[in-house]
Homo-oligomer: 669 residues x 2
């Protein structure tokens, strides 16, 4: 008898332990099952069936009625939630809107918001809320740090992973309604008949979730796929080729979204190769898509090695084209003028092209923010962008996805928060970073004591600034290791490399000081900004310190607002970054008993890496820049524990990036 | 003309730079040259000539007269320094005493002590102040971390390195008057005719500096060198063999000092192999040496794998032999009962053998204290020993040398301070650690501003406790990595290894607690101490906390004097150790402009290693012991940055130790 009790007890323990084990695969959708809620819908349909099922399983409140109804206050995907007489009514003009309403209602439940007597009206800020996957056909993901590409091209279209549906569901739950499946460095193969069948298979799965499929296209596709002799956008054969290709696509995927194009950028082909402008190239594609309501997202990420200041080039090339694009073209501009640095001022193209639809490209994947090893909650960074660029001035937002085959989707549990936050902000940029963090925390980890929750939220909210501090404070940028952009390499010098791919191009450290002079005395990039800002940035005394070294070459002894010299201030920022990460570790460890063991240890382990990396960054940058400043690291600051020469020997074997000079790299190392 | 000035200027800079470059080879003897002092001596002799030359070159004060004179207040090597009428008189009964007086006078000058009107009388506390070199014939040094052995046996006796004389001079300057040239794990070869000629060459160089030569001997030498069938100390052939060998030695080296013997210890042969006692073995050698006034230093470092508590064994084996040794035998006992741990209680053999001359064996080389990477000033540790063992109860002190062929002799500039402090304390154990540190600092680095000097001194004085904190606080011991004893390996488990060579034998961590129960309820090692101490140590509530886990198996939740639980206290000690090392880094970096670049950077670099290692130790021990305590590391403490499983994979390629189970080791790893 005793024996038996022990056995049962043992089984119970095993069961509880296994239940507690969490691999993060459920993301923020850790909804209850078997709630058996009373749900009614106007009809059966793939989308409505999903909404009904989600609510039936998870909704614990009053009966819910789904109603399709036009309403002046509601956009197509907008919805209203009304609670009256112990009944809840979800209203929207569209099925997708009702699906969003269902997820919103469940979010309210899971985050502990009061639904009784509440009335909620929601409309998206943008009609297009889109993820860009930089996924290659071979399932590598450029700048991806969460395993392989979700899209198993070899198995498609016959074998369909469960993950495809889960992916669509997660996106729907936060309002993302578009996905560009493949890398902007696009293989022409994606437009082949064979691959379009694979794309169709995904589109069919995504459709009920309101998620449209888009493709990145290679501008030279007509030459690569059908041996045309040119890809000149004004060539009749080329125009016909694209018309036919678009027709073929829409025959297979009637709600296909359109094209994303990286042209004449970092070695990609484009209209300029044939003496045409970006507008001429984009318009040709737009004309082909127009009959089907398809769009072109044309990237403005261009820069040439010969120019004096890379930060100015997108503006210089695109601003003159303002007004020349078709109305189904959206020019897609990265948030900052360089390339997703830990902190950049906003790109001056925003606001400069009044007659062209623009969209912002954010990077959800942490190419320059510690990959999937560092905890960096990016909502505050994106919100910073919206402080300068009015949300209403944009047509859409895109986010470069951080998603892969890892069990937890994003490599780092907290990287899920960036996918989540991107979706939420794309829906409504006025949401606060704190509220989004709060939503995500509660849905992802369940309810914790309020002090624990407050600490975790604080950790998230401080995390981006911490990364800026230990990587590139005060406006420093692009002093990353060559190619993979993970660790510090401010000294990087590769003979024969493009100067604008080398850190010294950006930091310009010398005996006098540090920083890129983009003032009116330097490259005059400041002049691309509206006059008030231009004036502010141009003056070393009024330029915000977080952008100081972006816009100025500043003497080491320059007096900062703190009263410290620039050098001392720089040291303190790096040191603060290290201490912030150590604080995150304390916060996380203190939450141990409220988090399941698996995710707890995964994050704990990542924070250890981040803590080590922060010291690595600090030591590398301070020891290197000290060779120029010649000043001591303030003695109250924790001392370096590395030798510069050892850090200069670090070369990590990270390879998921397109590097046109990989051979050069191998030759020189 | 301009060109020429620049050239000269350039030459001057190069010269100054080269002058400033310091490799540490001058140790604490950075005396002025060309002082042209007026010195008189009673006669010419090798020893007096050295004294006169040293003073002539370096003494900047009044004329000095050297006088040989017996004096009731002066022992053979004692001396008096008297300053009268602007003349200084050095008096001693011996030439060596006058040489010591000369170095003492120069030390006073270099450390800024007032010589005018001062009268100093100095007598050594011990007649024998001896270094033990664990140097092998192949020039490896067991537990040596400063290059190869100084003794170039292959070149000897024909080629004589300058270093031999410099070595003797350095020893004379701090009063060391004996040196055992070879490892206690002794090769019989050292007693061969060929090698005795080599030994003679060294003895001839050392003699004028008052430095006598001793040798470690292998007890089985008669069998190994001359094919005797036994080494039984009561065997007539054996007795005759040793008599002849000793005679041969003294014919070559008339002032030969005697033998050091490691017998029946860690695989070495000894009298017990033939059914004889340690006393019988030692006495046989002592009888052979007696006619020449030679001595035997017989080590009490014995322990067998079968016993229940290694800490008790030297006592158990030697205490019963009290009174049985000849009067020219000194039993050499390590300071603690185990083996040179960062902190040990004193060995209870001291005080227990009232009828046997005893000497203490200290370890100057940092086998268990971070090798030559960690700054650990050991005077406070040795002074701690003398708090329990009255200096007058000892006959002599020996120090296991930390000297090798490295340019700076000891591998770490601050390790020189341990050689220095050993000599000074062997001369006079009542000197304070602080004064010795002060002397060494001023002689080694010249005069610094007093606040810098005070900080450096503080760093030295705190350094041993810091190492204890981050390695083995609260009485923990021997949780080092297998074999080389550098890093942490509390988990070390090697199938087939002697249990008393494994850390778990010492820490005994389990779910209940940690520590070795040597109380009366455990191994009762406490009973080997005098009654008062035995009572104090036996009681968990009165046992000093620095020895707590040495004497008790203590529950994790045991309340410490701080009010913390044992676990929390342990965590705080490890954390304190880390923070102390970081403070040392700050102190050292702040001294940069007062230290020559070469030594500054060498020490700075070592401190970086120490800072990283301290975190390594802390993380390894806390993460490992946490598996037993099951308690969180207090959340106010800096979190681990390593994974236990990664640390458990660390195996360093350090090989300068005798490991009878090296093959076992290789098999199992």
């Amino acid at each position: 008898m005793k024996y038996r009790i022990f056995s049962l007890f043992y089984i119970a323990i095993v069961f509880v332990t296994q239940m507690a084990a969490e691999d993060g695969s459920h993301l923020w959708l850790r909804l209850p099952a078997n709630a058996h809620a009373e749900i009614s819908a106007p009809r059966q349909s793939p989308t409505l069936n999903i909404a009904v099922e989600e609510l039936q399983q998870a909704w614990k409140g009053a009966p819910v009625r789904l109603v399709i109804q036009k309403d002046k206050q509601l956009q197509a995907e907008g919805f209203r939630i009304r609670h009256e007489d112990n009944k809840i009514t979800l209203t929207s003009p569209t099925e997708t809107g009702l699906l969003y309403a269902a997820y919103h209602l469940l979010r309210m439940q899971e985050t502990g918001q009061n639904v009784v007597e509440a009335q909620t009206t929601e409309n998206p800020a943008y009609n297009l809320r889109i993820l860009n996957h930089w996924d290659n056909m071979d399932r590598t993901v450029e700048r991806g740090y969460a395993g392989q590409s979700l899209w198993n091209w070899e198995e498609l279209p016959n074998t369909l992973s469960d993950r495809y549906k889960e992916y669509a569901r997660a996106n729907a739950s936060i309002g993302i309604n578009g996905t560009v499946l493949n890398n902007v460095n696009a293989s022409p193969k994606i437009l082949s008949a064979e691959y379009l069948q694979k794309v169709k298979a995904l589109a069919d799965i995504f459709r009920p979730y309101g998620l449209r499929v888009y493709l990145s296209v290679n501008f030279a596709s007509p030459m690569a796929l059908d041996s045309l002799s040119t890809a000149d956008p004004l060539d009749k054969e080329v125009i016909r080729w694209w018309k036919n290709k678009v027709k073929e696509i829409y025959r297979i995927i009637p709600d296909f979204g359109g094209f994303l194009v990286k042209a004449n950028s970092e070695g990609q082909p484009g209209p300029c190769d044939f003496g045409r402008t970006h507008a001429e190239g984009a318009n040709m594609l737009a004309d082909a898509l127009k009959p089907y309501k398809g769009i072109v997202m044309w990237r403005a990420f261009v820069y040439s090695p010969s120019d004096a200041d890379r930060a100015k080039q997108a503006y210089l090339e695109f601003e003159p084209l303002d007004g020349q694009f078709r109305n189904n073209v959206i020019v897609q501009v990265k948030n900052g003028p360089i390339d997703f640095q830990p902190r950049e001022p906003y790109s001056p193209l925003f606001g400069a092209m009044q007659h062209t639809p623009l969209m912002a490209e954010f990077q959800v994947t942490q190419e320059y923010l510690g990959h999937s090893n560092h905890l960096a909650y990016l909502a505050p960074m994106w919100k910073e962008f919206f402080e300068f660029v009015a949300p209403a001035s944009l047509k859409a937002v895109a986010g470069v996805a951080n998603i892969g085959t890892d069990a937890n989707w994003c490599g780092h549990t907290f990287a899920q928060a960036n996918w989540y936050a991107f979706g939420r902000l794309a829906w409504q940029p006025s949401l606060s970073s704190g509220n989004i963090a709060d939503e995500w925390l509660k849905q992802t980890f369940g309810s914790q004591p309020s002090d624990i929750n407050a600490q975790l939220k604080k950790m998230m909210l401080d995390s981006h600034e911490a990364v800026v501090n230990y990587m590139m404070p005060l406006g420093l940028h692009h002093i990353f290791a060559w190619g993979h952009h993970y660790g510090p390499e401010p000294w990087c010098s590769i003979p024969g490399a493009r100067p604008d791919w080398l850190p010294s191009y950006y930091h310009r450290a010398d005996k006098q000081g540090i920083g890129f002079d983009r003032s009116s005395k330097g490259s005059n990039a400041v002049a691309q900004y509206p006059e008030t800002l231009a004036k502010q940035y141009d003056n070393i005394d009024t330029c915000p310190e977080e952008y100081l070294l972006w816009f100025h070459h500043v003497p080491w002894s320059h007096r900062m607002k703190s009263g410290r010299s620039l050098w001392d201030e720089l040291c303190h920022h790096y040191d603060n970054g290290v201490r912030q990460v150590r604080d995150f570790q304390k916060i996380w460890d203190a939450a141990e008993k409220y988090i399941d063991a698996e995710r707890f240890h995964e994050v704990q382990s990542k924070l250890k890496i981040q803590a080590r990396d922060a010291v690595w960054w600090k030591d590398a940058c301070l020891l290197y820049f000290q060779e120029f400043s010649g000043m001591p690291i303030p003695y109250e600051i924790e001392r370096p524990i590395h030798e510069l020469k050892d850090l200069q020997k670090v070369h990590l074997p990270i390879s998921n990036y397109e590097c046109p000079t990989k051979e050069l790299l191998n030759k020189n190392r």
